[in-house]
Symmetry: D2
Subunit: 391 residues, 4 copies
């Protein structure tokens, strides 16, 4: 439990966090809030959760933010929070892309740290302005290229850095999806609408949404700098305004080469992010669908399966790990589901009401059944392996 | 984000939670705390975190529990909390097995809901007492057979229930591990010590630790009741006091049969929990190492890969799901790691101190790099796919 | 190409082979014939291919056996072939089980080597008689427990023998299928008919058909002798005369334990033969569906993927290998399909006839296309990576 | 056993086959010979097996070719065989690339069908000449793009053709290997020598050896014609004369796009040929390492695993299939290994000699053990599942 351990500075007090965007119905806002809660180091205390002031406030109340800190706009929030003695220390910006830059500037100017979704801005110029502002203010600024948070990605990066692969020759990255195979932006998908709208997403569709993820990951692990690229962006779905498929050849500084493919129309792919890196001495392969595994081959030796928390894990991976080897990280969510179902029962009990019929979690009777199973198994075995009634 | 949605009753106020066991160095206590935080429905406010009173208190302070509610024993805690107007509503019991029953009784008697680790107790008699007490008090009592919380396990259960497999014939369950291949209990592993000690674990070693998990899961999904079993428990490691391998034949009520294998000495297995169920019309296969997948075959048709959140997911699975299809559930932990690293930087900034050198998260510069990549890709593509400098 | 090399004694002359059983419509006879041809060491020259004399002769002619050596019964064949100066040296017996013993005896008595399908006989007594007869006659007698022929199974056996796993503790074998999920024996499947008929299959159904395969493989690789077993044989399909599911606990001499599961009603399993062996120092896993791979873990080290012909392959595996690493063994069949399609065209050309419309193989035009592709690729690359027309 | 069935025209007489190249130590020649034998439709009767006349003759004798048809050159062979009444009907050309064109021309001119390895020739002009000559002579000419022979590739092609994928948008092909990661051509690998020598391989290294395979397969399955390409060929290993890595963007006629990656320096890849095709309605994925499987997704439905011979197999695949579903095609080779080991014993018995100590195949004693296992299992089960001694 390395991460929990490293969190014990927490009693210095949770970080007071605000959020811009992420109101009702937004997917990524909820993900940010869960992520902030997992290690108990943040407390969400303020929000401007929607560009629609009414909705912003309603969303805030639902999330337990007090009325006075449920803001109608990020400008208002930046100003008010900066003025409070107990104002937020950090803000999470989880709006569509076009709002990232103005919001980030407002909070940096107000002396507040920023955690911002990707891609950073609509244009390179805006991004450069932000870099300058961060340099000037000295504030912390994190971009949630979340795939860099996976333990085995940390391991991969460390292995490349320590020379386990020799000199890098090839970087192959891909991120196929299929959710935009048909024209979802005209049939009610809010995500699809703004992701394919150049006003809110910028000049890149697929390239901005997931191509950047693959690129960021390729650089993060390989430690290489891209020198030049040659791209073929395609819009396969008629009427769509932005690219839905990206094919890129890459030349890195130092001579490595690579290919990057990202697609939103590759039927049968959910989130097929995959990274393969090959050097003069070894090769690495990682896929997001099996994030606990890293395949490593030294040239001329059998392939090894390195696992999060397993025998071949390095400290760089271990530091990012909450559960032991062999428990996929969904383990925590499975546990959380038991807690959540129990919470529904407990809340129902508060009011003396009847719990909902679909609540489902293992009860004391299941516990008893388990004990009866153990008892019968021990008895059967002790009696020379004979059939034994259970319960 | 079904789960987040269903949590919106939360502003009724978080459930005040206490914890027994789970102090410094304990693995499962930290897991319970994270699970309780993920959906923001519990607040940990009291604890008797160790059987050693000094350590209990130190652990509580580290976790942000106020001094007055950091108890030296669970008896003291049950009594004191029951007397407070803002006392805990629920307690999580995460001690070694022998403490489950006395602690659970104390809190049920005090009118407090219980969430208890498995196996429920040391003996069947203790378990029956708890069942009676729960019936009498009407309190909520959850046992953390956590594998029942996985979305695709919910799906599997629902599919069996709705008859998709026809009449069940075979239930094959297995849970191989290898962590006790050598005599770890004499070389300093605290886990190994109490897991192999009959005084603290009861009559079953492997059968009580992981055999019960496999059994619970088999019953949960199949909906079957075990009628009788025939067991061969073995202790392979010399000097060990409890079984480290379990082989069981099972006969279920209604005629289905099954096998259960659990082992702590099967070299190369981390947590190889696997469940396979076959009926007259179809078959299901699930493995914990790939929890987002459920394999389903209708007799005479091609095998289907059902994914959490994917095209074939049923409402019973969707209800337990926080992230969309294709993001393995480790996605949230990856995100949380970015937040955790940023928190380290923010906390360092609080004191004006220098952040640690090993802090690693994507910064505004990485964001800029992403924008430069998009810009170059769009430019290259628009210019007829030519090589284009990046940055 | 180790095997080809070792075959170079072949010009000593191919072994003259006869066959009993395996006429029109029989699956396993054709498999034996292909197996005998692959290394060009046998020539099929005589046959008693069916218990129906007419059909036996027709089948023989179809296979290119001359009329005078197309026999109506195995008795006749044994006698006649023994009398010929160019009589068969070996016979392959591929009948239903009940014919194995009488046929084998007839040929051994006639001084002819025997290759016999499994299970060996209907009863243990018959099997013992055969053992004695083999000892007396000194003839070669091979039983086609074909899974022992896989290169990675040879490797596994060698690794166990050399102590790579330490002392063996656990042997887990399974062989699930689903082809008898419904009552196929009454709906025209010839295979299903005799496999479920005690007169032709003996006392075991699933246990005799595939349980023996799993058992043979477990012993072959582990080198262990089974001491005692405890079995639960079940007939799930109503009206069926023999078992269709087998669950067995095993105790080996020396203290190892194991489980064996074989089933013909496990929906979704085609031929799920799998063997896992665990010792004090390491573990091995192999599945027939991926026969080119062997998973090996030394306790406390990362799992290794050993591949047929790959970096970690031992001589015992290499000796059984025809194609290099990374070509699954279906590679040869893929090649053979090209040859077979070309043969259809060549045979059609013989008679000046028109080849069938469905013949499909790469032609000289496909070869040209390949050259144009290479040419364009080289040209594009040499010109600085520009778009280049193909063809 | 569809293929065996379709071979029953064989008794029209085997096709008399000659071979050019493929002498001692050559890998691909042996593969061609096995492929030709599997279905028993060819008989190898003549050969010019090496460019070194002595070696050519020695190799031929080893393969059982009579002395008079063991030729020192292909020119001599073409002339002599054309003159014989029982001359070869077809020739297999398995030399390095530069010999393909002259040899093919000689045999076509002599009225002999040709089966030729890929790539077809050294240059496009040579390839065009061959096309013209085939048109003029009307002879059969097969190029062994062997991957087109896999049953599931036939299935994939048929599915695309029948519109199961809708209109094709994307064709992603890759073929990574690692055998040329270091400079093997200077350390004694014959393969590596000629593969990296422009005189014998032509202008393409990796592109000619495996890039063409990936390209051929992409066209075969998709049914598309390539319009233009943009290539980046790289030589990573210093001193090497030809490319060892290939990255290509592709534009097909009709608007589909694609990427092709082939590499001989991607450490950890043996023969990673993979094809993915996506259309408006569905997607397909196939990898050569698991050739019996084809993944198919209809947009909006769960992914299906189609297996060779399984429930979802089409006639186009079934026609190319020799063994039932679930037996990987290595099944035949496994069987052949048993036959080969038995042959060693039989040949040793011929001379009354002692068989080699390393001969290993299941004997009559293993057959007896199998019977004892069945007997014990039936007895244990019949006696109410009790422990029963074996043997």
């Amino acid at each position: 439990m390395t991460i929990e351990a490293s969190r014990q500075e927490r009693n210095a007090g949770r970080i007071r966090l605000g959020m811009v965007g992420g109101g009702q119905g937004a997917f990524i806002g909820a993900v940010h809030r869960i992520a902030a809660r997992i290690d108990d180091q943040y407390e969400l205390v303020a929000g401007a959760l929607s560009s629609d002031p009414e909705r912003a406030k309603a969303s805030a109340l639902e999330l337990g933010i007090t009325r006075s800190r449920a803001y109608g706009s990020f400008e208002e929030m930046a100003k008010a929070e900066a003025a409070r003695p107990d104002g937020i220390e950090a803000v999470a910006i989880v709006t569509p892309n076009h709002m990232h830059a103005p919001a980030a500037k407002a909070f940096l100017d107000a002396g507040i740290h920023v955690i911002c979704d990707k891609p950073l801005t609509l244009t390179v110029d805006e991004a450069k302005e932000l870099v300058d502002l961060v340099d000037k203010t000295g504030k912390v600024f994190a971009v949630t290229h979340n795939y860099t948070g996976y333990p085995m990605i940390r391991q991969a990066r460390a292995m490349v850095e320590k020379g386990e692969l020799g000199e890098i020759r090839l970087v192959q990255a891909e991120y196929p999806q299929d959710w935009l195979t048909e024209r979802a932006e005209t049939t009610g998908s809010k995500q699809a609408e703004w992701r394919t709208d150049p006003k809110r997403s910028g000049a890149g569709g697929c390239i901005g949404d997931i191509g950047t993820h693959a690129y960021n990951l390729a650089c993060f692990v390989s430690g290489l700098e891209l020198d030049e690229l040659l791209a073929q962006l395609t819009t396969f779905v008629e009427g769509r305004q932005l690219d839905d498929d990206v094919q890129i050849l890459m030349r890195f500084k130092g001579g490595a080469k690579g290919m990057l493919w990202a697609s939103q129309v590759a039927v049968g792919n959910e989130n097929g992010l995959k990274l393969r890196i090959y050097g003069t001495k070894g090769g690495l392969e990682w896929t997001q669908a099996d994030p606990n595994y890293l395949w490593f081959t030294r040239f001329g030796e059998p392939k090894q399966l390195l696992t999060r928390g397993g025998a071949g894990a390095w400290p760089e991976a271990a530091r990012m790990t909450r559960v032991p080897a062999g428990h996929p990280e969904g383990y925590l969510e499975g546990f959380a589901n038991i807690y959540a179902e129990a919470a529904r029962a407990i809340i129902a009990a508060r009011g003396g009401g009847k719990p909902d019929a679909d609540i489902l979690f293992p009860t004391v009777r299941d516990g008893l059944k388990g004990m009866q199973f153990i008892e019968a198994a021990v008895a059967s075995s002790n009696a020379g392996n004979i059939w034994t009634k259970v319960g």
